[in-house]
Amino acid sequence: MNVAAFRPPRRIQRRFEPLIERALFLCAVLSIGTTIGIVVVLTIETGAFFREVPIVEFLTGTEWTPLFAVPRFGVLPLVAGTLLVTLIAMAVALPMGLLSAIYLSEYAGSRVRRIVKPVLEVLAGVPTVVYGYFALLFVTPLLQRVVPAMAGFNALSPGIVMGIMILPLVSSLAEDAMRGVPRGLREASYALGATRMQTSLRVVVPAAFSGITAAFILAVSRAIGETMIVAIAAGQQPRLTLDPTVPVETMTAYIVQVSLGDTPQGTLEYRTIFAVGMLLFIGTFGLNLVSTWLRERYREAYA
């Protein structure tokens, strides 16, 4: 095909070849530049922040009131808020995602899979601001009917909705891992008289364990970095608590809160968002690395 478009090589063409490769390489290197850019920007501003606030106070302080007259810079309440919402989201996304993956990989016929998978992808493609709306104006009122003491802003509702948002990610990555398990293992299990449930839970899931773990870790990373759902539905009160019925503030929601106000550059308040962002970046980037490493490992095991 396309023979008509083919032109015989010319000398000039040959001389340009290395230049083209060099140009393409530079474009690929830009992605490294992005990582370096993130690290540099965060390091500069965070460095300036730590010249004024001791790093120990930042990491161990239990009060976060940078916008008050007497500011306190203990990041733990924001970390606690983030972890609380993430924990709730994982309690929804992990079991549901894993069960969905087992059903799609081990039970469903190809027709069901062809219909269900794109619909699950739609769930993953819904903009997060829409989930925020859903959490604040649909799920929270629903929860308040069950638990009347539930505040209008709380950790439970955005946590549940975030879990639903992350479910397709867990399900599709876990399913990929399980489908990578060789058929022979399943057939050996059936030959020993195991039912599909026994084969799924005792053979397929353990065999795909590192891939499934990689999916879980990536899901945690996604939950920690998720912003709009919590900015809309969790409230803006940094609070060191495990109570899911009261307003909390996550690291991401704090960054949004400050960005919505008009914070002049160079102030300590402006720098707090970079310090919090740095913590967020280190946490999620570390989790992503572990997840990638695990996935590589399982790929090698059954390649």
Binding site: F6, Q13, L24, T34, T35, V126, L218, R222, T284, T292
Partner: protein
């Protein structure tokens, strides 16, 4: 369905045990199916909730109107135009670089050390929270490069955000091109670049385009990075140049959701409907492209 397990199971296990195990299996299958259906039901509930809340507010005046302090008169034109404008600029910035990077990694890089480092880096970048890109955009484009709170600063930030997705999807499209096509081209004396330019890219084009549209439709729904780079939340003018201040649909929706009055919540739901229509039409184009050219791609 359970043929292998049943025949073998009956042959070996005692009656009580096998009945129990089959019941457990059936129960497990039912639970797993219910969980899957529950996830799909959530999507149904979400769509229903938003249509019920927002359909009444949706009108031509709403789409072409400007924001107002009165909910019933407010429209979304500046935000809608802002979204379209910023996505076009993002595409101009991200697509050439992303496609070029993918060509390098897929056709030139191979398993060389730099290519593998870049690859690992891209996989990790794809999972960095979007809000962190917002901080990068704020520090780099808005402040250091002096772009201010402009369309250009926002679009540059989004371009870096979608770049990993563009690269990953373009690589997949290139990988689908059969190697025999490249070998035939080399056999005729074509250089590497001539082979890529005249043989590989035309065949991969529909796949690349589909991936690009899906990557950009993700950027349409992004809110957080643009809030950080300083998109305005109350825009009364549609942006007319890349230096204009701007807002986008998701930020306008966020602004309306955050107000206590129920009237504004209806506006937010109607805004979501417009946003979803925009996303659906982008996805429809992607699916159409894939179907229209898929026979040629596999030839």
């Amino acid at each position: 369905m359970n043929l292998v397990a049943d025949t073998l199971g009956e042959a070996r296990a005692g009656g009580r045990t096998i009945a129990w195990r089959r019941a457990a299996d059936a129960a497990f299958q039912t639970v797993a199916l219910l969980v899957l259906l529950a996830a799909l039901a959530c999507l149904g509930a979400l769509i229903r909730d938003i249509v019920v809340d927002g359909a009444g507010r949706l009108s031509w005046d709403f789409v072409t109107g400007y924001p107002s302090r009165r909910a019933s008169q407010a429209g979304i034109w500046p935000a809608l135009w802002g979204s379209v404008f910023i996505i076009l600029v993002t595409a101009v910035l991200a697509v050439p670089v992303g496609v070029a990077a993918a060509i390098y990694l897929e056709e030139y890089g191979g398993r060389s050390l730099p290519a593998r480092i870049i690859e690992l880096n891209i996989t990790n970048l794809a999972a960095v929270p979007s809000i962190v890109y917002g901080l990068l955009g704020l520090g780099l484009f808005v402040r250091t490069l002096g772009m201010g709170r402009s369309v250009l600063a926002g679009a540059s930030t989004l371009a870096l955000l979608v770049l990993p997705v563009v690269i990953l999807s373009t690589r997949e499209a290139l990988r689908a091109v059969p190697g025999s096509l490249r070998e035939a081209s080399y056999a005729l004396g074509a250089t590497k670049w001539q082979t890529i330019r005249h043989q590989v890219l035309p065949v991969a084009a529909p796949g690349i385009l589909t991936g690009l549209i899906l990557a950009l439709s993700r950027a349409v729904g992004e809110t957080a990075p643009l809030i950080i780079t300083g998109a305005v939340t109350f825009a009364t003018f549609a942006p007319d140049s890349i230096w204009s201040p701007f807002t986008v649909l998701p930020i306008q929706i966020f602004n309306w959701v955050s107000r206590p009055q129920a009237d504004f919540h209806a506006n937010a739901a109607a805004g979501i409907l417009v946003l979803v229509l925009l996303l659906l039409s982008m996805n429809a184009i992607a699916v159409w492209l894939r179907d229209r050219y898929s026979q040629r791609g596999t030839a």
